[in-house]
């Protein structure tokens, strides 16, 4: 009895410290987002408050000026936002298809050059990608997919090389017993039928994972997007246009507007992520095990 209660007390104490640690961690982790949201409600109008960087978090006056600015017609923000949504949508769609194709082929079929291909792609991934930007730019330019066509160009480049990111998905397919398709094959089903009618229906988590990861990447693409869209405001994405607000001298005092734009970017991505978090966890876990 006495031992049990001491155990209980011990556990209560350790849980208490656990909660303290978790609360501290949560505060640290959420602080930038709270700061971002609060910053977005600070006016940039000189008569009210200052729109640059300040050393306090809570705005002195609450205002919607920044949202009015980004959503109003003063900039192309809505256009940039739309561009990013379009890019993210198509990249997610095509990249998912390609990854599924590659993963199925590599997981289920044995053909000459299979391991060689996997190793080759693996090695390719170690070459720093930024160096090849200028080369990609001129390739795309030759196809008319820069500046005005930059959105299509960005989709093409993201999709074209996506086959190399098959690891996680192939790992998932590897865990589906091979006996399943062998039985179907004996019944006369073709490889394609096995793929479409057996494997895909039970791969929902990994399909969603692949699409989700692909959907989130374009929101971050600043470097390459600015490289191939330069000089053509209408084909920028949000990252390109908003990065300017933070880092170009022409945009002094745009900090709070950046915050507002950032909040608007974060909302859909965060919501989507929260809804699909379960699948993401499955993907991350499975992917880690198989590497």
């Amino acid at each position: 009895m006495a031992r049990e209660s001491s155990m209980k007390r011990k556990r209560a104490v350790s849980n208490f410290f656990g909660y303290v640690a978790l609360i501290i961690i949560t505060i640290i982790w959420l602080f930038p987002f709270v700061g971002l949201v609060l910053g977005s409600f600070r006016s940039y109008d000189a008569a009210v408050e200052y729109g640059g960087i300040v050393d306090y978090v809570i705005p002195k006056h609450f205002s919607l000026d920044n949202y009015r600015f980004v959503l109003g017609g003063e900039t192309n923000y809505l256009r940039w936002y739309g561009n990013t949504v379009i890019i993210a949508f198509f990249v997610a769609l095509f990249q998912m298809i390609i990854i599924l194709c590659v993963s199925y082929a590599l997981s289920r079929m044995r053909f000459a050059g299979r391991t060689a291909l996997m190793r080759f792609w693996f090695v390719l991934g170690m070459f720093p990608g930024f160096l090849t930007m200028i080369c990609l730019y001129f390739l795309l330019k030759e196809m008319g997919l820069t500046q005005a066509g930059a959105i299509k160009g960005l989709i093409l480049v993201s999709v074209a090389s996506s086959g190399m990111g098959y690891y996680v998905c192939k790992g998932y397919f590897d865990t589906i017993p091979k006996a399943l398709d062998e039985a179907a094959r004996i019944d006369g089903a073709s490889r394609a039928r096995v793929f479409f009618e057996m494997i895909l229906p039970i791969s929902k988590p990994i399909i969603i994972y692949a699409a989700l990861v692909a959907f989130m990447a374009p929101w971050n693409d600043y470097i390459f997007a600015s490289y191939i869209a330069f000089g053509h405001d209408a084909s920028y994405n949000v990252a390109v246009s908003m990065y300017r607000w933070m880092n170009t001298g022409d945009y002094q005092g745009y900090f709070t507007r950046f915050c507002a734009g950032g909040v608007l970017v974060a909302i859909p991505v965060t919501l989507l992520f929260m809804f699909l978090q379960k699948y993401y966890v499955e993907g991350v876990t499975g992917g880690a095990v198989k590497g």
Binding site: P32, V102, T132, A160, G262, M274, V284, K290, G291
Partner: protein, 464 residues
């Protein structure tokens, strides 16, 4: 894969015998083949079409036609200048500019044409082999598969080809070609004073590599070494600190008696969901000399003058590693949460009956298991961190700069951010390409060495 070492030892002789075999096939097929096969040496796919296999014959023919059209209308003029990268200078006619050869495009499209030629040669060889095979089948009195069977096989036994065709082509054009291009640039004098289209650049051999390893004043040698060391250290810290802390946080949340598990997880996961260019730029401003952190500490009177988070090289390095923990823990936490649940509970039970402390259980049950299953992840995460552009670029841009570095490198520059700056700010493509190759070699060496030690990779089939 389990006999990889065995394969390696005789891979050289295998290679030579394979090459020899290829020439043998080409030769004997020509000597022994009928006229249809012989014409196929010139007109690809002719034999197949003549034997009624229209689909595959047509495909070969189409490839050849496409090739001829490509080389004659586009590729040929670039390929012919690949040796010199162009000789015609840009000049002025009155005030009008008449552009000469564009070395950049010559190199790029010359390589593309070379790729195409290689592709054609492979197709040509397959075309010959296919002809030989058909003749053999006919001689044996078997029926050749028709076009319809060929087509259907693309969805059955040859489904892998259908699935992989587009992805492989895409990778070749948009990943392999640019990489080969940049490797070639390392052997040219392409820099700020030799820029297309108004200036030509040309091959210079190993001159740029000599510059990289020159330790004299103005040489890149010592800077390269210090940036390389920081890159390696950074990747090590970023990977392992995040790894252990992530597991710790996951265990804390999973701990018996802790409630609202989902809530804690969701809070942490926000950092994954919010785009990094938003959150990292915000965080970098937070740590600014004039940012919220310094401002608050000074207001509270804890410090007198601002802590130079980004301007002091050592402090900047520490700050980056700390901020990276903030980014990295959520991923690891998610991953570890899933994995920890897979550890059989009876292992812990029997251990606790034996009187093991939680720490002992962690050391002897949790860690070995985690390390075993996440080995490949750790490795790819390490190489990922070697090239972790976003974190460094968005937080410090590689700064602070110091006189002890050449080529505009700064205290927190990784090799990747350094070479990015080199191309963007200084247009020094030749040196950037050399450093790019070095990054590749370093990454590949680390990987190749670690790769073979991983138990879970060695035994791919074992998992199924």
């Amino acid at each position: 894969m389990s006999n990889a070492s065995e394969k390696k030892s005789n891979s050289v002789s295998t290679f030579f015998s394979a090459v020899g075999n290829i020439f043998k096939v080409i030769g004997t097929t020509f000597v022994n083949g009928d006229w249809k096969t012989k014409i196929s040496y010139l007109i690809m796919g002719f034999g197949q079409i003549a034997r009624g296999q229209f689909l595959r014959g047509g495909a070969f023919l189409a490839i050849e036609a496409l090739f001829i059209w490509f080389v004659s209308t586009f590729g040929g003029k670039y390929l012919s200048k690949l040796g010199t990268l162009g000789t015609i200078e840009t000049y002025k006619k009155n005030r009008k500019t008449v552009y000469g050869d564009n070395s950049f495009l010559i190199l790029l499209f010359g390589l593309l044409t070379l790729f195409f030629i290689l592709f054609l040669v492979i197709c040509w060889y397959l075309n010959i082999k296919d002809n030989a095979k058909e003749e053999e089948l006919i001689k044996a009195g078997k029926k050749l598969p028709g076009s319809k069977a060929d087509f259907l096989s693309l969805f059955d036994n040859n489904f892998d080809k259908t699935l992989l065709a587009l992805p492989v082509t895409g990778v070749f054009i948009f990943t392999v070609l640019p990489i080969v291009f940049m490797i070639c640039v390392a052997f040219t004098n392409y820099d700020a004073t030799h820029q297309a289209p108004s200036k030509l650049f040309t091959w210079v051999g190993f001159a740029n590599f000599k510059n990289l390893f020159s330790f004299a004043s103005g040489g890149f040698g010592s800077t390269f070494v210090s940036v390389l060391i920081w890159t390696l250290v950074w990747a090590l810290l970023a990977t392992f600190i995040d790894y252990f802390l992530g597991i710790a946080v996951a265990m804390l949340i999973n701990k018996k008696g802790i409630r609202f598990k989902k809530f804690w997880r969701t809070c942490l996961v926000m950092t994954i969901a919010v785009p990094q260019f938003v959150s990292l730029l915000y965080v970098s401003k937070m740590f600014d000399n004039a940012g919220i952190i310094n401002g608050t500490l000074m207001k509270l009177g804890i410090i007198q003058s601002a802590i130079p988070f980004w301007t002091n090289p050592t402090l900047a390095k520490i700050t980056i590693v700390v901020v990276n923990i903030w980014i990295g823990i959520p991923y690891l936490m998610l991953m570890a949460t899933g994995l920890l649940m897979n550890i059989p509970a009876d292992l812990y039970e029997s251990a606790s009956i034996d009187g093991a402390t939680p720490w002992q259980m962690f050391r002897h049950i949790t860690m070995p298991y985690m390390l075993f299953v996440t080995g490949p992840y750790l490795l790819s995460s390490y190489t990922g961190n070697l090239n972790n552009f976003n974190v460094i670029y968005l937080l410090t841009g590689g700064g602070p700069k110091s006189m002890s570095y050449a080529g505009g490198a700064g205290g927190t520059d990784l090799l990747v951010t350094w070479l990015y700056k080199m191309t963007i700010n200084d247009t020094d493509y030749k040196m950037a390409a050399v450093i790019g190759i070095m990054v590749f070699i370093v990454t590949a060496l680390i990987f190749m060495n670690a790769y073979n030690f991983l138990p879970s990779i060695k035994d791919e089939e074992g998992f199924q």
